[in-house]
């Protein structure tokens, strides 16, 4: 059992939870994730370890509560318990001092990006961080990312914060400017965003790393459900990833596989909505 020590709402449907998990906190490196199962009978969900405090024995999880299972997880109150947290899984991010790097985050992907920015900053990189969201309500971790970044840029689709538009705009400006062009780009966010970033950097031949979040069951390399096509090879995101060379990722295949259970998820979502409605009506 893993105790929930804090549970804050960062944005709509986005929670930051600090969970007691001493062994994972000690072993964990940037880029790794945990498999979480709230209770008996619940799904196993992969969640990136956003941050960790080895001395305090805690890990921080950023959870986007959009499915029935994630909503139940974020409903756990402080002092409550998560039954299963297993990890750290996946390979750690390859961190080196590239010099100038760009880190691009979209929506909840920003939470996955955060530990990478932290590790890249510790390694002495000059970081331009670009984060985007639909509106200011979806911009997270700005206060945490600002001090780690040499440049910190925000884009919103409605212009309610930072520049109006998408993260790809400031990135393409950077790429076109030899003075500011990064040596490496890290991008985490929705699949279309990561794909757009990959296409932007491809002509420049700039090393581009994305963190993928395909469907997973065990997270330990047993089931093969998280397979993704990387160039000519089939890779398993849980053991070979979750980070891959963006220029080799088959994003079309990845987004298609992500829709495998859309119908079932919708049905389950509807079922829990109904129950909530009934409970409120009582």
């Amino acid at each position: 059992m893993f105790e929930v020590l804090s549970n804050e709402i960062l944005a709509e449907n986005l929670h930051k939870m600090v969970v007691s998990a001493p062994r994972i906190a000690r072993a964990r490196k940037a880029g790794q994730f945990v498999m979480v199962r709230l209770a008996q009978g619940e799904e196993r969900i992969p969640l990136t370890i956003g941050d960790a405090d080895a001395a305090a024995g805690t890990i921080t999880l950023f959870i986007q509560a959009i499915g029935a299972s994630t909503r139940k997880i974020v409903d756990t109150p402080v002092g409550g318990f998560i039954r299963d947290v297993a990890g750290p899984l996946g390979k750690e991010t390859h961190i080196t001092n590239w010099g100038r790097v760009a880190c691009v985050g979209g929506g909840v992907g920003t939470a996955v990006l955060f530990p990478l920015v932290k590790a890249l900053a510790e390694a002495g990189n000059q970081i331009t961080t670009i984060i985007g969201g639909r509106s200011s309500r979806y911009i997270i971790l700005a206060d945490e990312l600002t001090p780690l970044s040499e440049n910190f840029l925000v884009t919103t689709e409605d212009g309610s914060m930072g520049t109006k538009g998408f993260v790809t705009q400031p990135l393409s400006e950077m790429l076109a400017d030899p003075e500011r062009a990064p040596r490496a780009v890290f991008a985490v966010g929705p699949v279309p965003m990561m794909r757009a970033v990959a296409e932007l950097t491809r002509p420049y031949g700039i090393e581009t790393i994305v963190s993928l979040n395909p469907i997973m069951i065990d997270g330990t390399g047993m089931c093969g459900g998280c397979r993704v096509q990387i160039g000519k090879e089939t890779k398993f995101a849980c053991v070979d990833g979750p980070e891959f060379d963006a220029h080799l990722v088959d994003f079309v295949g990845l987004s298609d596989r992500l829709t495998s259970y859309r119908k079932e998820e919708a049905a389950r979502h509807a079922a829990t909505e109904c129950k909530l409605g009934r409970e409120e009506a009582k």
């Binding site: 619940e42 799904e43 039954r83 065990d218 089931c223 093969g224 053991v239 298609d256 079932e264």
Partner: protein
């Protein structure tokens, strides 16, 4: 011997038939197919054993169960003694009585099989194990072993790990099992379906170990949460039995279409996560009326019979050799056929076909014929020119096998591995790291539950020996 009956009387008794759920009932639910023998059947079956001096059956058992002795106790209607003998040799008798391929092991060597049918050793094992579970008050109490003060870490809570843990605990060592998943049993729980091995059986076998003082820590992934080096530091010995790993891909077009499963994913969803078995299950599973399972082993049988139970009208085995070459147990093949599974033999998949929106629509296949024997001694399948055809299917399951799991070995550079990534051990089961032993699928590649258990038992003996040497 209290059961004084003559050899000719023994010879005259016919082999017991296992009670089974009717095929047209069981192919719609997940209840156990084999119902076990009743007391009368068990007594009669036990009396079929000639109690011969050669004891070949014992040599055929990977864990060396004292078969004639426990059967004699059954024949003498001394169930507590039968249970004591069986439990003394086998940490998981209720599991083995259900999933062991007795027909190729103990029963294959039974002298009665030379002329007629072998004694149903497996049925009797299950009968005794189930009796023991249901009569805990009548069991002869195990004496608590004298504590040696030594500790052993066991990596993996599957058949090899559980067996080793039981043996080591009985020798007085403090055992801690580390399990990567959220529940116990390893492949017994995520791999073998409920209708062959009810989960309750695993729970009860595990509880026996807990009573012996074994500690089980779930959600600990050795190689990730903790390393082998850390275990070596904290424990006097380590046994690695973390099982099989990544599924072997078919490497044919269409493998990433929606509706293509590796056997482990399909079985884990249904067995461990209960997808399709509970109305309100949070883990989904894709159900289709036509399901093609590629492979001919027990895992393929488990997948196809599960697919049938999930509602597939056509649940099909697609195998490139013939039925005689299938590695699956005879009983599994028989049960599958009774349940309406179709066997499409001498057929190899060429490609998985899909719809425009990325769902599986069929399997492009090719007919095969058997040529001369290959390295495995089985006749090599060869394609028949121009025999391509399409098998309609909405779900395709790849049950051709697994590769070695790299999670643990990646962070243990001192472990010597073979070219396939499996851990290399010596005759005692010891790895290249002193005090670290290994067994089961991480050593063998894909094998059976009982072979893994045999490894666990052998390793436990070697670890015990190692620990007593270490003391001196």
């Amino acid at each position: 011997m209290s059961n004084k009956i003559s050899a000719s009387e023994r010879m005259a008794i016919e082999r017991a038939e296992m009670h089974e759920l009717p095929a047209d009932v069981r192919n719609k639910n997940f209840e156990e197919v084999n119902l076990g023998l009743d007391s009368e059947q068990a007594l009669s079956e036990a009396r079929r054993c000639l109690q011969c001096k050669k004891r070949d059956c014992v040599a055929g058992c990977p864990v060396g169960v004292s078969i004639p002795e426990f059967i004699d106790a059954v024949a003498s209607e001394d169930m507590p003694r039968a249970a004591q003998i069986l439990r003394g040799d086998n940490a998981l008798p209720a599991v083995c009585g259900r999933v062991c391929p007795q027909e190729t092991q103990c029963e294959a060597l039974c002298v009665r099989g030379l002329k007629g049918e072998a004694v149903a050793i497996g049925y009797l094992e299950r009968f005794v194990a189930d009796w023991a579970m249901n009569h805990p008050d009548q069991l002869l109490r195990e004496e608590a072993p004298f504590s040696t003060g030594k500790s052993v870490a066991v990596v993996g809570c599957g058949p090899a790990g559980l067996t080793a843990a039981g043996e080591l605990a009985r020798q007085g060592h403090k055992v801690t099992i580390f399990e990567a998943l959220h529940d116990t049993g390893g492949v017994l729980r995520y791999g073998i379906p409920e209708f062959r091995l009810p989960k309750e059986i695993i729970d009860r076998e595990v509880s026996v170990l807990l009573e012996l003082g074994v500690t089980i820590e779930c959600n600990v992934i050795i190689g990730k949460t903790l390393t082998v080096a850390e275990l070596s530091e904290d424990f006097d010995a380590v046994f690695i039995a973390n099982g099989a790993g990544l599924p072997t891909m078919l490497n044919i077009p269409g493998e990433n279409l929606k509706g293509v499963y590796a056997a482990n994913e399909f079985l884990t969803r249904v067995n461990l996560m209960e997808a399709g078995r509970r109305e309100d299950c949070s883990t989904p599973i894709i159900k289709r009326s036509e399901v093609a399972v590629i492979g001919g082993g027990n895992t393929a049988m488990d997948c196809v019979r599960t697919a049938r139970r999930l509602g597939a009208e056509r649940a099909m085995i697609v195998y490139r050799r013939g039925e005689a070459e299938m590695p699956a147990r005879v009983e599994e093949i028989k049960h599958a056929k009774e349940e309406g599974v179709e066997f499409i033999m001498l057929t190899a998949p060429l490609a998985i076909l899909g719809t425009e929106d990325g769902w599986v629509s069929g399997l492009q296949c090719q007919r095969m014929e058997l040529g001369p024997p290959d390295d495995s001694g089985r006749r090599r399948p060869q394609p028949i020119e121009g025999s391509e055809f399409v098998l309609p299917a909405g779900v395709v399951i790849n049950a051709v096998g697994t590769n070695a799991n790299p999670l643990l070995t990646a962070t243990a550079p001192d472990l010597t591995l073979n070219k396939w990534g499996n851990i290399v051990i010596n005759e005692e089961g010891e790895t290249s790291i002193p005090g670290v032993f290994a067994g089961g699928d991480i050593v063998r590649g894909g094998a059976t539950v009982i072979l893994a258990m045999g490894d666990g038992k052998r390793a436990a003996a070697a670890i015990n020996e190692y620990l007593s040497r270490k003391e001196g």
